[in-house]
């Protein structure tokens, strides 16, 4: 980002465009006006030449009214952790989630997708497809199931109906245990 700012100051007026495109950059190095770079490797006569070549972004910056792939009607229902086949499309082979610049989702859907991936791991729906490296130690070793993606954050206590009712049903203070003293 610092580097980007440096470049942006070179071409005043294009700052906004640079920032817009930078949010979609995938390459590690970013230049002025959103040019992306990619490593190029040439082998000639025992010498390997490594340099950066310029790549143009074919899609350009996202427009304001452009919807992401989960907001449109392609997926009419809300994404849950049970939609494993959809979730897998946003994941790498090692079980990590792709960044938003690559998935092209909006912020809301990206976070929901990440939560769902975690829940799918925790509920054991991926099995050992992505290895057993996922941290399932302690209380996480049990499979767990949720109502929806936000219920991870809900700190609701479980209600056991009737407990209080049965405890305080009868007056318990100063009661004789046995009516008959001979007993």
């Amino acid at each position: 980002m610092q580097m980007l700012r440096l470049y942006a100051s070179n071409c005043a007026g294009k700052i906004k465009a640079a920032v817009e495109t930078a949010s979609r950059l995938q390459s590690t190095a970013s230049g002025a006006a959103g040019h992306k770079f990619q490593t190029k490797e040439d082998k000639k006569e025992g010498t390997t030449y490594i340099s950066m070549e310029k790549v143009t972004d074919s899609r350009g910056a996202r427009k304001d009214d452009e919807l992401c792939s989960l907001c449109t009607c392609n997926v009419p229902i809300k994404l849950t952790y049970k939609d494993v086949l959809i979730l897998e499309q946003f994941m790498r082979d090692d079980g990590t989630v792709l960044p938003r610049q690559l998935t092209g989702l909006c912020k809301k859907q990206q976070l929901r997708m990440e939560r769902c991936v975690m829940q799918a791991f925790w509920s054991g729906l991926f099995g050992d497809k992505y290895g057993t490296e996922a941290d399932r130690a302690g209380y996480k070793r049990f499979n767990r199931y949720w109502k929806d993606d936000m219920s991870m954050y809900q700190l609701e206590t479980k209600q056991r109906h009737g407990t209080w009712f049965y405890i305080k049903r009868y007056p318990t203070k100063n009661q004789q245990l046995f009516k008959n003293p001979l007993n």
Binding site: G31, G46, T47, I50, L98, M118
Partner: protein
């Protein structure tokens, strides 16, 4: 939130500084014979090659192969910086580091010299001298 969460989200947040630090840990000059650095200090994009130069001069990296000859040519022609690394088997690596970040330089260098691109995180035992 938890280890599980951060593990899944590992690739979501791109952290160049962390990767640079891990890449410099993996630096190993065992297969390198010499490195010739050539840069113009007044060129606008020479930070990456200076970072690379600094990190191969670190004592721990130098100890991996004390026989590496590092030669530097400071130019005054406003051309792009580059360095040439000569390997033991006569192969040469010519890096033109313009538009590269230091992380790119070191990760590519590691890969082409047969080292892992990123080193291990965490505390390391002290090197035995």
């Amino acid at each position: 939130m938890s280890q599980l969460w951060s593990k899944i989200r590992y690739g979501v947040r791109w952290n160049p500084a962390e990767r640079l630090a891990l890449a410099t840990r993996a630096l190993n000059l065992q297969k390198v014979k010499s490195i010739d650095i050539s840069l113009d200090p007044l060129h606008h994009d020479n930070l990456s090659i200076r970072t690379f130069w600094h990190s191969i001069m670190a004592p721990k990296v130098r100890l991996t192969n004390p026989n590496v000859r590092v030669k530097t040519d400071i130019r005054n022609d406003r051309r792009a910086p580059f360095f040439v690394a000569t390997l033991d088997d006569g192969q040469k690596l010519h890096f033109s580091t313009e538009n590269m970040t230091a992380m790119d330089v070191i990760m590519n260098f590691n890969r082409l010299t047969g080292q892992p691109e990123l080193g291990k995180a965490g505390t390391r035992p002290r090197a035995k001298i």
